[in-house]
Symmetry: C2
Subunit: 311 residues, 2 copies
Protein backbone atom coordinates (compact mmCIF):
# COMPACT_ATOMS: atom_id res chain seq x y z
CA UNK A 1 0.00 0.00 0.00
CA UNK A 2 1.45 3.46 -0.81
CA UNK A 3 1.79 6.04 1.98
CA UNK A 4 -1.13 8.09 0.68
CA UNK A 5 -3.54 5.20 1.12
CA UNK A 6 -1.96 4.19 4.41
CA UNK A 7 -2.44 7.70 5.79
CA UNK A 8 -6.07 7.72 4.61
CA UNK A 9 -6.74 4.39 6.29
CA UNK A 10 -5.07 5.52 9.54
CA UNK A 11 -7.14 8.71 9.65
CA UNK A 12 -10.51 7.20 8.68
CA UNK A 13 -11.34 5.97 12.25
CA UNK A 14 -10.78 9.54 13.48
CA UNK A 15 -13.44 10.79 11.07
CA UNK A 16 -15.83 8.11 12.30
CA UNK A 17 -15.12 8.82 15.98
CA UNK A 18 -18.18 10.64 17.23
CA UNK A 19 -17.72 9.64 20.86
CA UNK A 20 -14.47 11.37 21.75
CA UNK A 21 -13.80 14.94 22.74
CA UNK A 22 -11.22 17.17 21.06
CA UNK A 23 -8.36 16.54 23.52
CA UNK A 24 -8.86 12.78 23.21
CA UNK A 25 -8.85 13.01 19.39
CA UNK A 26 -5.59 14.99 19.61
CA UNK A 27 -4.01 12.12 21.59
CA UNK A 28 -5.16 9.72 18.88
CA UNK A 29 -3.72 12.02 16.23
CA UNK A 30 -0.35 11.91 18.03
CA UNK A 31 -0.27 8.12 17.74
CA UNK A 32 -1.17 8.38 14.04
CA UNK A 33 1.85 10.63 13.48
CA UNK A 34 3.98 8.06 15.34
CA UNK A 35 2.70 5.32 13.01
CA UNK A 36 3.29 7.41 9.89
CA UNK A 37 6.90 8.08 10.98
CA UNK A 38 7.43 4.36 11.58
CA UNK A 39 5.94 3.32 8.22
CA UNK A 40 7.82 5.95 6.26
CA UNK A 41 11.03 4.32 4.96
CA UNK A 42 12.00 7.18 2.66
CA UNK A 43 15.40 8.82 3.22
CA UNK A 44 14.36 11.91 1.31
CA UNK A 45 13.50 14.85 3.61
CA UNK A 46 11.01 16.34 1.13
CA UNK A 47 9.11 13.06 0.90
CA UNK A 48 8.93 12.62 4.68
CA UNK A 49 7.76 16.24 5.03
CA UNK A 50 5.12 15.69 2.34
CA UNK A 51 3.77 12.68 4.26
CA UNK A 52 3.58 14.74 7.46
CA UNK A 53 1.68 17.47 5.61
CA UNK A 54 -0.65 14.89 4.05
CA UNK A 55 -1.32 13.42 7.49
CA UNK A 56 -2.00 16.87 8.94
CA UNK A 57 -4.38 17.79 6.13
CA UNK A 58 -6.20 14.46 6.37
CA UNK A 59 -6.64 14.92 10.13
CA UNK A 60 -8.03 18.44 9.69
CA UNK A 61 -10.38 17.27 6.95
CA UNK A 62 -11.58 14.49 9.26
CA UNK A 63 -12.20 16.72 12.29
CA UNK A 64 -12.36 20.33 11.13
CA UNK A 65 -13.93 21.53 14.37
CA UNK A 66 -11.25 20.29 16.75
CA UNK A 67 -8.70 22.98 17.54
CA UNK A 68 -6.17 20.80 19.46
CA UNK A 69 -5.69 18.71 16.32
CA UNK A 70 -4.99 21.86 14.32
CA UNK A 71 -2.48 23.17 16.89
CA UNK A 72 -0.78 19.77 17.02
CA UNK A 73 -0.33 19.70 13.23
CA UNK A 74 0.78 23.33 13.16
CA UNK A 75 3.29 22.69 15.95
CA UNK A 76 4.78 19.66 14.18
CA UNK A 77 5.09 21.37 10.81
CA UNK A 78 6.82 24.44 12.25
CA UNK A 79 9.10 22.26 14.42
CA UNK A 80 10.32 20.35 11.38
CA UNK A 81 10.48 23.26 8.92
CA UNK A 82 14.23 23.75 9.01
CA UNK A 83 15.23 20.08 9.01
CA UNK A 84 17.34 19.12 6.02
CA UNK A 85 17.60 15.33 6.30
CA UNK A 86 14.89 12.69 6.67
CA UNK A 87 16.44 11.48 9.95
CA UNK A 88 16.61 14.95 11.44
CA UNK A 89 13.01 15.57 10.40
CA UNK A 90 11.79 12.37 12.05
CA UNK A 91 13.72 13.11 15.25
CA UNK A 92 12.38 16.66 15.51
CA UNK A 93 8.87 15.42 14.83
CA UNK A 94 9.12 12.91 17.69
CA UNK A 95 10.34 15.64 20.04
CA UNK A 96 7.42 17.85 18.97
CA UNK A 97 4.93 15.01 19.48
CA UNK A 98 6.25 14.27 22.96
CA UNK A 99 6.13 17.94 23.88
CA UNK A 100 2.54 18.28 22.67
CA UNK A 101 1.38 15.11 24.44
CA UNK A 102 2.93 16.22 27.73
CA UNK A 103 1.40 19.69 27.33
CA UNK A 104 -2.08 18.16 26.75
CA UNK A 105 -1.79 16.19 30.00
CA UNK A 106 -0.23 19.04 32.02
CA UNK A 107 -2.94 21.46 30.90
CA UNK A 108 -5.71 19.11 32.04
CA UNK A 109 -4.03 18.66 35.43
CA UNK A 110 -3.93 22.43 35.90
CA UNK A 111 -7.56 22.85 34.78
CA UNK A 112 -8.60 20.07 37.18
CA UNK A 113 -7.19 22.06 40.12
CA UNK A 114 -9.21 25.15 39.17
CA UNK A 115 -12.37 23.05 38.71
CA UNK A 116 -12.23 21.96 42.38
CA UNK A 117 -13.39 25.47 43.27
CA UNK A 118 -16.61 25.34 41.27
CA UNK A 119 -17.91 21.91 42.35
CA UNK A 120 -20.65 22.44 44.93
CA UNK A 121 -19.90 20.21 47.96
CA UNK A 122 -22.44 17.39 48.03
CA UNK A 123 -24.19 18.94 45.05
CA UNK A 124 -25.23 17.94 41.57
CA UNK A 125 -22.97 18.81 38.61
CA UNK A 126 -24.44 18.88 35.11
CA UNK A 127 -22.17 17.69 32.28
CA UNK A 128 -23.03 17.68 28.58
CA UNK A 129 -21.80 15.54 25.66
CA UNK A 130 -18.37 13.91 26.12
CA UNK A 131 -15.19 15.75 27.00
CA UNK A 132 -12.12 13.91 28.24
CA UNK A 133 -11.13 17.14 30.02
CA UNK A 134 -14.44 17.21 31.92
CA UNK A 135 -14.12 13.50 32.80
CA UNK A 136 -10.51 13.93 34.00
CA UNK A 137 -11.44 16.95 36.12
CA UNK A 138 -14.42 15.20 37.74
CA UNK A 139 -12.43 12.02 38.46
CA UNK A 140 -9.62 14.17 39.88
CA UNK A 141 -12.09 15.93 42.20
CA UNK A 142 -13.53 12.60 43.33
CA UNK A 143 -10.02 11.22 43.94
CA UNK A 144 -9.28 14.31 46.03
CA UNK A 145 -12.22 13.33 48.27
CA UNK A 146 -14.81 15.76 46.94
CA UNK A 147 -18.31 14.29 47.10
CA UNK A 148 -20.81 15.25 44.43
CA UNK A 149 -23.11 13.60 41.87
CA UNK A 150 -23.29 14.19 38.14
CA UNK A 151 -26.37 14.62 35.92
CA UNK A 152 -25.85 14.06 32.22
CA UNK A 153 -27.84 13.35 29.06
CA UNK A 154 -27.44 10.85 26.27
CA UNK A 155 -26.23 13.24 23.52
CA UNK A 156 -28.05 12.08 20.43
CA UNK A 157 -27.38 10.94 17.82
CA UNK A 158 -24.03 9.36 18.77
CA UNK A 159 -24.94 8.80 22.44
CA UNK A 160 -21.54 9.89 23.72
CA UNK A 161 -23.34 10.76 26.97
CA UNK A 162 -23.41 7.01 27.69
CA UNK A 163 -19.62 6.94 27.48
CA UNK A 164 -19.52 9.89 29.91
CA UNK A 165 -21.94 8.21 32.35
CA UNK A 166 -20.06 4.90 32.21
CA UNK A 167 -16.64 6.48 32.79
CA UNK A 168 -17.86 8.51 35.75
CA UNK A 169 -19.76 5.59 37.30
CA UNK A 170 -16.66 3.39 36.91
CA UNK A 171 -14.79 6.14 38.81
CA UNK A 172 -17.20 5.87 41.71
CA UNK A 173 -19.27 8.95 40.90
CA UNK A 174 -23.07 8.53 41.11
CA UNK A 175 -24.73 9.52 37.83
CA UNK A 176 -28.28 10.65 37.07
CA UNK A 177 -28.88 10.10 33.35
CA UNK A 178 -31.74 11.25 31.15
CA UNK A 179 -32.54 12.13 27.53
CA UNK A 180 -31.25 15.39 26.10
CA UNK A 181 -34.35 17.57 26.12
CA UNK A 182 -35.06 16.59 29.73
CA UNK A 183 -32.07 18.72 30.74
CA UNK A 184 -34.56 21.43 31.72
CA UNK A 185 -35.97 19.03 34.35
CA UNK A 186 -32.64 18.35 36.08
CA UNK A 187 -30.79 21.67 35.71
CA UNK A 188 -32.80 23.44 38.46
CA UNK A 189 -31.29 20.92 40.89
CA UNK A 190 -27.72 21.45 39.67
CA UNK A 191 -25.22 23.75 41.35
CA UNK A 192 -23.01 24.07 38.29
CA UNK A 193 -22.86 22.93 34.66
CA UNK A 194 -19.68 21.94 32.82
CA UNK A 195 -18.95 21.37 29.17
CA UNK A 196 -15.87 20.76 27.10
CA UNK A 197 -15.45 22.43 23.76
CA UNK A 198 -13.77 21.85 20.45
CA UNK A 199 -12.77 25.39 19.55
CA UNK A 200 -12.80 28.86 21.07
CA UNK A 201 -12.73 32.06 19.03
CA UNK A 202 -13.73 35.66 19.64
CA UNK A 203 -17.36 35.10 18.50
CA UNK A 204 -17.86 32.05 20.69
CA UNK A 205 -17.19 28.43 21.51
CA UNK A 206 -17.80 25.54 19.16
CA UNK A 207 -19.19 22.42 20.79
CA UNK A 208 -21.67 19.59 20.21
CA UNK A 209 -25.11 20.81 19.09
CA UNK A 210 -27.29 21.26 22.16
CA UNK A 211 -24.66 23.28 24.02
CA UNK A 212 -26.49 26.47 23.06
CA UNK A 213 -29.75 25.15 24.56
CA UNK A 214 -27.78 24.21 27.68
CA UNK A 215 -26.35 27.74 27.88
CA UNK A 216 -29.80 29.34 27.46
CA UNK A 217 -31.31 27.06 30.11
CA UNK A 218 -28.43 27.71 32.54
CA UNK A 219 -28.89 31.46 32.13
CA UNK A 220 -32.66 31.15 32.64
CA UNK A 221 -32.23 28.98 35.73
CA UNK A 222 -29.22 30.83 37.17
CA UNK A 223 -26.93 27.80 36.98
CA UNK A 224 -23.30 28.84 36.40
CA UNK A 225 -21.89 27.27 33.22
CA UNK A 226 -18.17 26.77 32.64
CA UNK A 227 -16.37 25.46 29.58
CA UNK A 228 -13.21 23.51 30.45
CA UNK A 229 -10.67 24.06 27.70
CA UNK A 230 -6.94 24.34 27.42
CA UNK A 231 -5.74 27.34 25.40
CA UNK A 232 -4.90 24.81 22.65
CA UNK A 233 -8.63 25.18 21.83
CA UNK A 234 -8.25 28.88 20.98
CA UNK A 235 -8.15 29.67 17.26
CA UNK A 236 -8.54 32.55 14.82
CA UNK A 237 -11.95 33.26 13.37
CA UNK A 238 -11.45 31.61 9.96
CA UNK A 239 -10.52 28.30 11.58
CA UNK A 240 -13.40 28.62 14.12
CA UNK A 241 -16.08 28.36 11.45
CA UNK A 242 -14.58 25.24 9.87
CA UNK A 243 -17.08 23.25 12.00
CA UNK A 244 -19.78 24.32 9.56
CA UNK A 245 -18.26 21.94 7.00
CA UNK A 246 -18.85 18.99 9.28
CA UNK A 247 -22.13 17.33 8.24
CA UNK A 248 -22.72 13.64 8.96
CA UNK A 249 -24.98 11.19 7.09
CA UNK A 250 -28.67 11.69 7.87
CA UNK A 251 -29.05 7.93 8.27
CA UNK A 252 -27.28 8.23 11.64
CA UNK A 253 -30.36 10.11 12.85
CA UNK A 254 -33.11 8.22 10.97
CA UNK A 255 -32.19 5.25 8.81
CA UNK A 256 -35.53 4.50 7.10
CA UNK A 257 -36.72 8.00 6.43
CA UNK A 258 -39.99 8.33 4.41
CA UNK A 259 -40.17 10.19 1.10
CA UNK A 260 -40.52 13.94 1.52
CA UNK A 261 -38.40 14.09 4.70
CA UNK A 262 -34.81 15.37 4.54
CA UNK A 263 -32.60 14.62 7.53
CA UNK A 264 -30.10 17.19 8.79
CA UNK A 265 -27.21 15.84 10.86
CA UNK A 266 -24.87 18.67 11.80
CA UNK A 267 -22.86 18.00 14.92
CA UNK A 268 -21.56 21.35 16.10
CA UNK A 269 -22.84 24.79 16.91
CA UNK A 270 -21.53 28.16 18.09
CA UNK A 271 -22.22 29.30 21.64
CA UNK A 272 -21.63 33.04 22.12
CA UNK A 273 -18.97 33.62 24.80
CA UNK A 274 -21.37 35.89 26.66
CA UNK A 275 -23.66 32.86 27.23
CA UNK A 276 -21.23 31.17 29.61
CA UNK A 277 -19.73 32.30 32.89
CA UNK A 278 -16.10 31.57 32.07
CA UNK A 279 -13.69 29.26 30.30
CA UNK A 280 -11.46 27.41 32.74
CA UNK A 281 -8.03 27.07 31.09
CA UNK A 282 -4.60 25.97 32.32
CA UNK A 283 -4.04 29.66 33.15
CA UNK A 284 -7.25 29.96 35.19
CA UNK A 285 -10.66 31.54 34.56
CA UNK A 286 -11.12 33.48 31.32
CA UNK A 287 -14.28 35.61 31.41
CA UNK A 288 -16.33 36.37 28.27
CA UNK A 289 -14.75 39.84 27.99
CA UNK A 290 -11.21 38.40 28.12
CA UNK A 291 -11.57 35.82 25.35
CA UNK A 292 -10.65 38.13 22.50
CA UNK A 293 -7.26 39.05 23.96
CA UNK A 294 -6.52 35.35 24.56
CA UNK A 295 -6.91 34.33 20.93
CA UNK A 296 -3.38 33.40 20.09
CA UNK A 297 -1.96 35.53 17.33
CA UNK A 298 -0.07 32.36 16.47
CA UNK A 299 1.44 31.85 13.07
CA UNK A 300 -0.32 29.30 10.89
CA UNK A 301 1.93 27.04 8.84
CA UNK A 302 1.66 27.66 5.10
CA UNK A 303 0.46 24.08 4.51
CA UNK A 304 -2.50 24.52 6.88
CA UNK A 305 -3.73 27.94 5.76
CA UNK A 306 -7.35 27.91 4.68
CA UNK A 307 -8.21 28.87 1.13
CA UNK A 308 -9.89 32.30 1.09
CA UNK A 309 -13.68 32.12 0.69
CA UNK A 310 -14.76 32.96 -2.85
CA UNK A 311 -18.23 34.15 -3.83
CA UNK B 1 -63.65 -11.36 32.63
CA UNK B 2 -65.30 -8.97 35.13
CA UNK B 3 -65.84 -5.33 34.15
CA UNK B 4 -63.02 -4.13 36.39
CA UNK B 5 -60.45 -6.19 34.54
CA UNK B 6 -62.01 -5.38 31.18
CA UNK B 7 -61.75 -1.66 31.91
CA UNK B 8 -58.13 -2.07 32.98
CA UNK B 9 -57.28 -3.94 29.80
CA UNK B 10 -59.07 -1.35 27.61
CA UNK B 11 -57.19 1.52 29.27
CA UNK B 12 -53.71 -0.09 29.32
CA UNK B 13 -52.88 0.82 25.69
CA UNK B 14 -53.65 4.46 26.54
CA UNK B 15 -51.04 4.37 29.28
CA UNK B 16 -48.51 2.89 26.87
CA UNK B 17 -49.30 5.42 24.13
CA UNK B 18 -46.37 7.81 24.09
CA UNK B 19 -46.82 8.86 20.47
CA UNK B 20 -50.20 10.61 20.59
CA UNK B 21 -51.07 14.12 21.63
CA UNK B 22 -53.74 14.96 24.20
CA UNK B 23 -56.59 15.60 21.74
CA UNK B 24 -55.88 12.28 20.00
CA UNK B 25 -55.84 10.46 23.35
CA UNK B 26 -59.22 12.05 24.17
CA UNK B 27 -60.66 10.60 20.93
CA UNK B 28 -59.32 7.18 21.95
CA UNK B 29 -60.87 7.65 25.42
CA UNK B 30 -64.24 8.32 23.76
CA UNK B 31 -64.12 4.97 21.99
CA UNK B 32 -63.17 3.26 25.26
CA UNK B 33 -66.31 4.71 26.89
CA UNK B 34 -68.32 3.41 23.89
CA UNK B 35 -66.86 -0.07 24.42
CA UNK B 36 -67.53 -0.01 28.18
CA UNK B 37 -71.16 0.95 27.53
CA UNK B 38 -71.49 -1.90 25.03
CA UNK B 39 -69.89 -4.48 27.34
CA UNK B 40 -71.90 -3.42 30.38
CA UNK B 41 -74.98 -5.68 30.54
CA UNK B 42 -76.09 -4.53 33.99
CA UNK B 43 -79.57 -3.04 34.32
CA UNK B 44 -78.68 -1.41 37.61
CA UNK B 45 -78.04 2.35 37.26
CA UNK B 46 -75.61 2.40 40.21
CA UNK B 47 -73.52 -0.37 38.66
CA UNK B 48 -73.37 1.30 35.25
CA UNK B 49 -72.41 4.60 36.92
CA UNK B 50 -69.71 2.83 38.94
CA UNK B 51 -68.24 1.40 35.75
CA UNK B 52 -68.19 4.85 34.13
CA UNK B 53 -66.44 6.26 37.20
CA UNK B 54 -63.95 3.39 37.18
CA UNK B 55 -63.24 4.02 33.50
CA UNK B 56 -62.79 7.73 34.13
CA UNK B 57 -60.42 7.14 37.04
CA UNK B 58 -58.42 4.56 35.10
CA UNK B 59 -58.04 6.98 32.16
CA UNK B 60 -56.85 9.78 34.43
CA UNK B 61 -54.40 7.47 36.16
CA UNK B 62 -53.09 6.42 32.77
CA UNK B 63 -52.62 9.95 31.41
CA UNK B 64 -52.66 12.39 34.32
CA UNK B 65 -51.20 15.24 32.25
CA UNK B 66 -53.83 15.30 29.53
CA UNK B 67 -56.53 17.86 30.24
CA UNK B 68 -58.96 16.91 27.40
CA UNK B 69 -59.28 13.43 28.94
CA UNK B 70 -60.13 14.99 32.29
CA UNK B 71 -62.72 17.33 30.76
CA UNK B 72 -64.24 14.44 28.81
CA UNK B 73 -64.65 12.34 31.97
CA UNK B 74 -65.93 15.30 33.96
CA UNK B 75 -68.46 16.12 31.21
CA UNK B 76 -69.77 12.54 31.06
CA UNK B 77 -70.12 12.17 34.82
CA UNK B 78 -72.04 15.44 35.20
CA UNK B 79 -74.21 14.65 32.16
CA UNK B 80 -75.28 11.35 33.70
CA UNK B 81 -75.55 12.48 37.32
CA UNK B 82 -79.33 12.73 37.44
CA UNK B 83 -80.11 9.58 35.47
CA UNK B 84 -82.11 7.04 37.46
CA UNK B 85 -82.17 3.98 35.19
CA UNK B 86 -79.35 2.08 33.51
CA UNK B 87 -80.86 2.73 30.08
CA UNK B 88 -81.25 6.47 30.65
CA UNK B 89 -77.69 6.63 31.93
CA UNK B 90 -76.32 4.87 28.84
CA UNK B 91 -78.34 7.10 26.51
CA UNK B 92 -77.19 10.31 28.21
CA UNK B 93 -73.62 9.08 28.17
CA UNK B 94 -73.77 8.47 24.41
CA UNK B 95 -75.17 11.98 23.87
CA UNK B 96 -72.36 13.43 26.01
CA UNK B 97 -69.72 11.43 24.11
CA UNK B 98 -71.06 12.59 20.74
CA UNK B 99 -71.16 16.20 21.92
CA UNK B 100 -67.59 16.04 23.20
CA UNK B 101 -66.26 14.37 20.04
CA UNK B 102 -67.91 16.96 17.81
CA UNK B 103 -66.57 19.76 20.03
CA UNK B 104 -63.01 18.36 19.77
CA UNK B 105 -63.24 18.41 15.97
CA UNK B 106 -64.97 21.79 15.74
CA UNK B 107 -62.38 23.40 18.02
CA UNK B 108 -59.50 22.16 15.86
CA UNK B 109 -61.19 23.49 12.72
CA UNK B 110 -61.51 26.93 14.34
CA UNK B 111 -57.89 26.88 15.57
CA UNK B 112 -56.75 25.87 12.07
CA UNK B 113 -58.30 29.02 10.61
CA UNK B 114 -56.44 31.24 13.10
CA UNK B 115 -53.17 29.41 12.41
CA UNK B 116 -53.31 30.42 8.73
CA UNK B 117 -52.37 33.94 9.85
CA UNK B 118 -49.11 32.94 11.55
CA UNK B 119 -47.64 30.70 8.83
CA UNK B 120 -44.98 32.65 6.95
CA UNK B 121 -45.66 32.35 3.18
CA UNK B 122 -42.97 30.13 1.66
CA UNK B 123 -41.26 29.96 5.04
CA UNK B 124 -40.11 27.32 7.47
CA UNK B 125 -42.37 26.35 10.40
CA UNK B 126 -40.84 24.62 13.44
CA UNK B 127 -43.01 22.00 15.17
CA UNK B 128 -42.08 20.07 18.31
CA UNK B 129 -43.14 16.63 19.64
CA UNK B 130 -46.48 15.32 18.31
CA UNK B 131 -49.76 17.15 18.49
CA UNK B 132 -52.75 16.10 16.40
CA UNK B 133 -53.95 19.72 16.59
CA UNK B 134 -50.68 20.97 15.08
CA UNK B 135 -50.80 18.28 12.36
CA UNK B 136 -54.44 19.09 11.51
CA UNK B 137 -53.71 22.83 11.34
CA UNK B 138 -50.66 22.36 9.08
CA UNK B 139 -52.48 19.95 6.75
CA UNK B 140 -55.44 22.38 6.65
CA UNK B 141 -53.11 25.22 5.67
CA UNK B 142 -51.50 23.09 2.95
CA UNK B 143 -54.94 22.06 1.65
CA UNK B 144 -55.88 25.73 1.49
CA UNK B 145 -52.94 26.27 -0.87
CA UNK B 146 -50.46 27.76 1.59
CA UNK B 147 -46.90 26.80 0.73
CA UNK B 148 -44.40 26.31 3.56
CA UNK B 149 -41.99 23.68 4.87
CA UNK B 150 -41.78 22.21 8.36
CA UNK B 151 -38.70 21.57 10.51
CA UNK B 152 -39.12 19.10 13.34
CA UNK B 153 -37.04 16.94 15.67
CA UNK B 154 -37.25 13.30 16.70
CA UNK B 155 -38.55 13.79 20.27
CA UNK B 156 -36.62 11.29 22.30
CA UNK B 157 -37.18 8.89 23.90
CA UNK B 158 -40.45 7.87 22.20
CA UNK B 159 -39.57 9.39 18.81
CA UNK B 160 -43.05 10.80 18.24
CA UNK B 161 -41.35 13.37 16.00
CA UNK B 162 -41.08 10.60 13.39
CA UNK B 163 -44.87 10.22 13.46
CA UNK B 164 -45.17 13.99 12.97
CA UNK B 165 -42.70 14.01 10.06
CA UNK B 166 -44.39 11.02 8.39
CA UNK B 167 -47.89 12.48 8.67
CA UNK B 168 -46.83 15.84 7.27
CA UNK B 169 -44.80 14.30 4.44
CA UNK B 170 -47.78 12.08 3.54
CA UNK B 171 -49.83 15.30 3.37
CA UNK B 172 -47.44 16.75 0.80
CA UNK B 173 -45.54 19.03 3.17
CA UNK B 174 -41.73 19.00 2.82
CA UNK B 175 -40.08 18.18 6.16
CA UNK B 176 -36.59 18.93 7.46
CA UNK B 177 -35.89 16.53 10.33
CA UNK B 178 -33.07 16.47 12.85
CA UNK B 179 -32.26 15.34 16.39
CA UNK B 180 -33.70 17.27 19.32
CA UNK B 181 -30.73 19.30 20.51
CA UNK B 182 -30.03 20.43 16.95
CA UNK B 183 -33.16 22.60 17.17
CA UNK B 184 -30.83 25.55 17.82
CA UNK B 185 -29.33 25.00 14.36
CA UNK B 186 -32.64 25.16 12.46
CA UNK B 187 -34.67 27.67 14.51
CA UNK B 188 -32.80 30.73 13.17
CA UNK B 189 -34.22 29.81 9.73
CA UNK B 190 -37.80 29.41 10.99
CA UNK B 191 -40.45 32.12 10.76
CA UNK B 192 -42.62 30.64 13.49
CA UNK B 193 -42.64 27.72 15.96
CA UNK B 194 -45.73 25.74 16.93
CA UNK B 195 -46.37 23.27 19.71
CA UNK B 196 -49.39 21.49 21.08
CA UNK B 197 -49.83 21.09 24.80
CA UNK B 198 -51.43 18.74 27.27
CA UNK B 199 -52.63 21.20 29.89
CA UNK B 200 -52.80 24.93 30.45
CA UNK B 201 -53.04 26.55 33.89
CA UNK B 202 -52.25 29.97 35.30
CA UNK B 203 -48.57 29.08 36.04
CA UNK B 204 -47.93 27.70 32.58
CA UNK B 205 -48.43 25.05 29.94
CA UNK B 206 -47.61 21.39 30.38
CA UNK B 207 -46.06 19.71 27.37
CA UNK B 208 -43.41 17.15 26.40
CA UNK B 209 -40.03 17.77 28.03
CA UNK B 210 -37.94 19.91 25.72
CA UNK B 211 -40.70 22.47 25.18
CA UNK B 212 -39.04 24.76 27.70
CA UNK B 213 -35.73 24.61 25.79
CA UNK B 214 -37.69 25.37 22.62
CA UNK B 215 -39.33 28.38 24.30
CA UNK B 216 -35.97 29.70 25.57
CA UNK B 217 -34.37 29.26 22.13
CA UNK B 218 -37.33 30.95 20.38
CA UNK B 219 -37.06 33.92 22.72
CA UNK B 220 -33.29 34.15 22.20
CA UNK B 221 -33.65 33.93 18.42
CA UNK B 222 -36.79 36.10 18.13
CA UNK B 223 -38.89 33.30 16.63
CA UNK B 224 -42.56 33.67 17.62
CA UNK B 225 -43.83 30.57 19.46
CA UNK B 226 -47.51 29.64 19.63
CA UNK B 227 -49.19 26.80 21.50
CA UNK B 228 -52.23 25.43 19.67
CA UNK B 229 -54.77 24.30 22.25
CA UNK B 230 -58.49 24.17 22.58
CA UNK B 231 -59.83 25.56 25.86
CA UNK B 232 -60.49 21.92 26.83
CA UNK B 233 -56.78 22.01 27.78
CA UNK B 234 -57.36 24.67 30.47
CA UNK B 235 -57.44 23.32 34.04
CA UNK B 236 -57.18 24.50 37.63
CA UNK B 237 -53.81 24.51 39.31
CA UNK B 238 -54.16 21.27 41.31
CA UNK B 239 -54.92 19.28 38.15
CA UNK B 240 -52.11 21.05 36.23
CA UNK B 241 -49.38 19.56 38.39
CA UNK B 242 -50.67 16.00 38.03
CA UNK B 243 -48.08 15.60 35.22
CA UNK B 244 -45.42 15.36 37.90
CA UNK B 245 -46.77 11.90 38.77
CA UNK B 246 -46.01 10.67 35.28
CA UNK B 247 -42.64 8.90 35.32
CA UNK B 248 -41.84 6.21 32.76
CA UNK B 249 -39.43 3.27 33.08
CA UNK B 250 -35.79 4.31 32.75
CA UNK B 251 -35.19 1.36 30.41
CA UNK B 252 -37.04 3.32 27.68
CA UNK B 253 -34.09 5.72 27.71
CA UNK B 254 -31.20 3.28 28.34
CA UNK B 255 -31.91 -0.42 28.59
CA UNK B 256 -28.52 -1.79 29.69
CA UNK B 257 -27.50 0.86 32.14
CA UNK B 258 -24.25 0.27 34.06
CA UNK B 259 -24.11 0.08 37.86
CA UNK B 260 -23.99 3.49 39.51
CA UNK B 261 -26.16 5.19 36.87
CA UNK B 262 -29.82 6.00 37.62
CA UNK B 263 -32.03 6.82 34.65
CA UNK B 264 -34.68 9.52 34.91
CA UNK B 265 -37.52 9.32 32.39
CA UNK B 266 -40.02 12.08 33.05
CA UNK B 267 -42.04 13.06 30.04
CA UNK B 268 -43.57 16.44 30.79
CA UNK B 269 -42.49 19.85 31.96
CA UNK B 270 -44.00 23.24 32.75
CA UNK B 271 -43.44 26.14 30.36
CA UNK B 272 -44.24 29.52 31.94
CA UNK B 273 -46.97 31.29 29.93
CA UNK B 274 -44.73 34.33 29.61
CA UNK B 275 -42.28 32.21 27.55
CA UNK B 276 -44.65 31.91 24.58
CA UNK B 277 -46.25 34.53 22.38
CA UNK B 278 -49.83 33.29 22.63
CA UNK B 279 -52.07 30.25 22.86
CA UNK B 280 -54.23 29.85 19.78
CA UNK B 281 -57.62 28.50 20.94
CA UNK B 282 -60.99 28.04 19.25
CA UNK B 283 -61.76 31.57 20.50
CA UNK B 284 -58.61 33.09 18.98
CA UNK B 285 -55.30 34.28 20.42
CA UNK B 286 -54.90 34.22 24.20
CA UNK B 287 -51.86 36.24 25.31
CA UNK B 288 -49.81 35.32 28.39
CA UNK B 289 -51.57 38.02 30.45
CA UNK B 290 -55.03 36.66 29.52
CA UNK B 291 -54.48 33.03 30.51
CA UNK B 292 -55.48 33.41 34.13
CA UNK B 293 -58.95 34.77 33.32
CA UNK B 294 -59.48 31.93 30.83
CA UNK B 295 -58.97 29.15 33.37
CA UNK B 296 -62.45 27.73 33.53
CA UNK B 297 -63.93 27.99 36.97
CA UNK B 298 -65.66 24.76 35.99
CA UNK B 299 -67.08 22.44 38.57
CA UNK B 300 -65.16 19.20 39.10
CA UNK B 301 -67.26 16.07 39.56
CA UNK B 302 -67.00 14.60 43.06
CA UNK B 303 -65.59 11.32 41.67
CA UNK B 304 -62.69 13.12 39.96
CA UNK B 305 -61.63 15.47 42.75
CA UNK B 306 -57.99 15.06 43.72
CA UNK B 307 -57.16 14.00 47.24
CA UNK B 308 -55.68 16.94 49.15
CA UNK B 309 -51.91 16.78 49.48
CA UNK B 310 -50.85 15.60 52.93
CA UNK B 311 -47.45 16.16 54.48
Amino acid sequence: MDMNRQIASLVRPIQEDLLSGAAEIALRAISIFHTVLKLDDSDNAATVRMHLIQTAQALLDAQPAMAPVFHLCNHILFATDNCTTAQELKTECLVALDYYEKKLCDDVAKIADYVLDVIPPGGLVFAYSFSSTVVSCLLHARARGHYFRVACTESRPSMEGRKLASRLAAGNIEVLYTYDTAMGLVLPNCGVALMGCDCVGAPGLVNKAGSLLLALACKDMSVPLYALASTNKFVAEDRLFEFENHERPGSEVWDDVPAGVRVLNRQFELIPVASINAIITEHGFIGPDQVEQQIAQARVHEALKLAPVTF
